[in-house]
């Protein structure tokens, strides 16, 4: 298959970026999207130019490192996949493919298609955890957890932190990312003691970092490679209301 690629190139954070057009030929339909970019890069190196930088790591859809905005969709034209799991058979021969980095104020471009997503870590650091230290914890079976709650918590916990929800949201809102963590921990008895303080702190950090507000368009849910549901956002809203109105703890 042959493609025309329009790729965002930007030397560094301060540089002005632009789109560059590349032609690429004889790509197997079984080739993954990132392997197609590898082939492009190898040809660029052979032409003595600088290859296109893009984040990637596990290439099996779990590390959350890859993330490209392809033809108007985060992770491209397939549902429930990361960019590394997207295959060229999802495109038509001769298609023009426009590749952009994630766009959001808290995600500055580092180079080409690589963006800085440390904002996600910063939100987790505000309270996306249960404050236990190593050792001194009760037996794993000391507190039974209803299966359906454990399963729901697992669904929320399957977030890979790729940022597609933010990239997809017309407001660049991080509500699904934060909501999934808040929900996971709110569902589990172990997470309850810190629930009220956690949601307040994480939301405050999210706002401070410059993410947009949620307007319930659910683009996040539609593009999440792990199919995390919008009910996580709803649950976070509830936790937030309870924390602000019922709880005596303030931040």
């Amino acid at each position: 298959m042959d493609f025309t690629l329009k790729i965002w190139r930007q030397e560094n954070q301060k540089a002005k970026g632009r789109f560059e057009t590349y032609k690429i030929k004889d790509i197997s339909p079984d080739c993954s999207f990132l392997e197609m970019l590898d082939i492009l890069n190898e040809s660029l190196v052979n032409k003595l130019s600088h290859p296109v930088c893009f984040d990637n790591d596990c290439r099996e859809g779990i590390c959350g490192m890859c993330g490209l905005y392809i033809n108007g969709r985060p992770h491209g034209p397939d549902d429930a996949v990361t960019t590394c799991q997207l295959h060229m058979r999802k495109f038509t021969d001769g298609e023009t493919i426009t590749i952009e980095p994630w766009r959001a104020k808290p995600f500055p471009v580092i180079r080409d298609l690589v963006v800085d997503r440390t904002a996600l870590d910063k939100m987790i650091q505000e309270g996306g955890y249960i404050s236990v230290t190593s050792g001194g914890v009760p037996d794993g079976n000391a507190i039974p957890i209803p299966k359906h709650k454990a399963d729901q918590a697992m669904d929320s916990a399957s977030c890979i932190g790729c940022g597609a929800c933010i990239a997809a949201c017309k407001n660049a809102s991080a509500m699904l990312f934060v909501g999934a963590k808040v929900t996971q921990l709110a569902l589990l008895p172990q997470g309850k003691p810190e629930a009220a303080i956690r949601v307040q702190k994480m939301v405050a950090k999210m706002d401070e970092l410059g993410f947009g507000n949620c307007t319930n368009t659910y683009a996040c849910e539609a593009e999440c490679p792990k199919e995390i549901k919008r009910s996580n956002i709803s649950r976070m809203n509830l936790e937030f209301i309870l924390a602000k109105i019922v709880s005596e703890e303030t931040i």
């Binding site: 033809n71 108007g72 766009r103 017309k170 939301v203 507000n213 319930n216 368009t217 509830l238």
Partner: protein, 288 residues
């Protein structure tokens, strides 16, 4: 950038809560409007407007409602600006993500509704505060009583010459009043301009009220207005379509069992309410 110093979720909940007031008010308004269709010469409609215009509890709610409208609009605008600023560099390719119909256009549908509200307020609401001249009605009994009082004063010679002349003019006018200035039950003088009120009821008559019934009928008689009105309610339908489900989402009411029910209710609400409103001009256009 944060234009208002509240947590994003607080703002979102405020937007939803103010919207909720509006959602609750719409059926009330619709109920009153549907009285227009009763062929009772506007009796029910007039009674309902009278109640809404004079009851103190309603007056308190009126203030809450007005505040809700304003805050709903202001917060929505500020949030939209904030959200725009959260992505300083936009994408080149427009989004192809599948999102629920209309959820992306709430600010635009809301804007259309806000514009219509301005027209609506000019047409009706401002008349109440005498900011705009409309049509008025007066209870015949009240007019009669007022006339009798004047007549007694006339007999005891308390009226000035000018007042006497005006009373005579009122007498002449009212004895020749045409049928279209009277309601069906001949209980009220209706469809009066400010001057006509002075003429028929006397210079210092105070007990007249805006005649929303005839003002409505007059507006709906205008085809252009009726079509705009219908279009606005289609837009309102879209706005409402997203509103109720979104409200539940925002207030954290999400439940495996009830969310599907809420979705059905939201859809029903979004169809029935605008349809109810739209029924009135449609009826007037095609049935009468």
């Amino acid at each position: 950038m944060k234009l208002i110093k509240f947590a994003s979720i607080t703002k979102k909940i405020a937007l939803a809560a103010f919207g909720l007031f509006l959602l609750l008010f719409l059926p009330v308004h619709l109920g009153i409007n549907l009285c227009l269709l009763r062929e009772d010469g506007g009796e029910w409609y007039r009674n309902a407007s009278h109640f809404m215009g004079t009851n103190y509890i309603v007056k308190v709610f009126e203030i809450v409602l007005l505040a809700s409208v304003l805050l709903h609009i202001i917060i929505a605008i500020l949030l939209t600006i904030e959200n725009f600023l959260a992505r300083p560099i936009r994408y080149k390719v427009a989004t192809k993500t599948k999102t629920p119909f209309m959820s992306r256009y709430m600010i635009w549908t809301g804007g259309v509704i806000a514009c219509f509200l301005v027209i609506h307020f000019i047409n009706f609401y401002f008349v109440k505060f005498d900011l705009v001249e409309g049509k008025y009605s007066a209870d015949m009994e009240q007019v009669d009583k007022h006339f009798q009082e004047k007549a007694i004063k006339l007999q005891s010679g308390e009226l000035s010459e000018k007042e006497q002349a005006s009373l005579m003019a009122q007498y002449q006018a009212i004895s020749q009043v045409s049928m279209d200035k009277m309601d069906k039950n001949r209980k009220n003088l209706v469809n009066l301009t400010k001057d006509e009120v002075k003429l028929y009821c006397g210079e210092d008559f105070k007990h007249y009220e805006p005649d929303f019934y005839n003002m409505s009928l007059e507006l709906f008689a205008n085809k252009t207005y009726s079509i705009i009105y219908l279009l606005v309610f289609v837009v309102l339908g879209f706005h409402l379509f997203h509103a109720l489900g979104s409200l539940a989402q925002t207030l954290g009411l999400n439940h495996k069992k009830y969310t599907p029910i809420i979705d059905v209710v939201a859809l029903a609400y979004a169809v029935i309410i605008p349809l109810g409103f739209a029924a009135i001009p449609l009826w007037l256009m095609f049935m009468l």
